[in-house]
């Protein structure tokens, strides 16, 4: 699928990952989900294109943040559709991509 939009997390959202929910403080996974991920993902699905998630420059990658954003998206929309409309980029630490994909594929697991 063609990439027509890029979400640079460090530039648009913030350069530091928080925890899962709003209660856990700033830059939570849920905040990222509500304000950036879900709207951009929905547009990508409607426009039938892929959204590139650029993780480079984003400090930390706790599972609570990833499950609060990508895990939640997977629970809501299903892993298959999420993975077909999302592409990831993280040259500095490609393991972050593996982790995100693992959470998307296993959103229920802790």
């Amino acid at each position: 699928m063609e990439i027509k939009d890029t979400l640079i997390i460090a530039k648009e959202f913030g350069d530091t990952a928080g925890a899962r929910d709003y209660d856990d403080g700033d830059y939570s996974g849920k905040e990222f989900y509500d304000k950036f991920l879900l709207p951009r993902f929905n547009k990508a699905v409607e426009g039938k294109y892929a959204l590139l998630i650029d993780i480079d420059g984003f400090w930390g990658w706790p599972s609570s943040f990833v499950s609060g954003s990508f895990g939640l998206l997977s629970k809501e929309k299903g892993a298959k559709i999420v993975l077909s409309h999302l592409e990831f980029k993280c040259d500095s630490n490609p393991m972050k991509i593996e982790k995100a994909k693992y959470i998307i594929n296993n959103p229920e697991k802790k």
């Binding site: 925890a19 899962r20 856990d24 403080g25 990658w61 499950s67 393991m95 982790k99 693992y102 959470i103």
Partner: protein, 194 residues
């Protein structure tokens, strides 16, 4: 009579037996020397000598190379193991203190991020250099590592309302840590076997 036997008959019989044996074995083995040497014989001798020296050296080099390669692989495994152990010890200390502060959460977060970077390099190196039989365990190790990261940076550890790591979460962290070490040992076994 005894004197005759001891000093005359016995030496005479011994002498005759010796001469007889000498006559029999005189032509054994039976071969003749040809003092004309062909140039191919010279090469053949040099080649035989070369092979005699080269093969043991080659075998020794192959053994040394394998030993060095295995030593590098073990070093990589130990390096990753040590990094994991340091983080796990820190988490264990936090659990034992029955108190987790914001700086502890940040530290765990940073260290897990760095470990992820390290794991990426380590995994690529091992996949390239390990025997094929270890590939399955390397993939399992990746899953175990992700599960370890998942529980160690979960909301139960770094959530803002969390004041200590509870027993259940710590038990799961320890289980995942053990699973990782189990895979590391299996990879070591495969390296030794091949």
């Amino acid at each position: 009579m005894k004197v005759f036997l001891r000093y005359f008959l016995l030496p005479a019989v011994t002498l005759l037996v010796g001469i007889s044996i000498g006559l029999v074995i005189r032509d054994i083995p039976k071969f003749s020397m040809d003092y004309n040497i062909k140039i191919t014989d010279v090469f053949s001798v040099i080649l035989t000598f070369g092979i005699g020296v080269f093969i043991p050296l080659l075998v020794k080099k192959l053994i040394d190379d394998k030993r060095t390669k295995n030593a590098h692989l073990f070093e990589e495994l130990s390096g990753f193991s040590k990094m994991t152990e340091n983080i796990h010890d820190y988490i264990q200390d936090v659990y034992n203190n029955k108190k987790i502060l914001v700086k502890d959460k940040d530290y765990i977060n940073i260290q897990m991020d760095l470990l992820g970077k390290e794991f990426n390099e380590f995994h690529a190196f091992m996949m390239e250099n390990c025997p094929k039989q270890a590939t399955e365990y390397l993939n399992e190790l990746k899953t175990c590592y992700i599960e370890y990261w998942q529980i160690s940076t979960s909301i139960e550890v770094i959530g803002s309302s969390i004041k200590k790591i509870d027993d259940k979460t710590f038990k799961t962290i320890c289980e995942k840590y053990t699973e990782m070490n189990k895979r590391i040992r299996r990879i070591k076994t495969e390296i030794i076997k091949h």
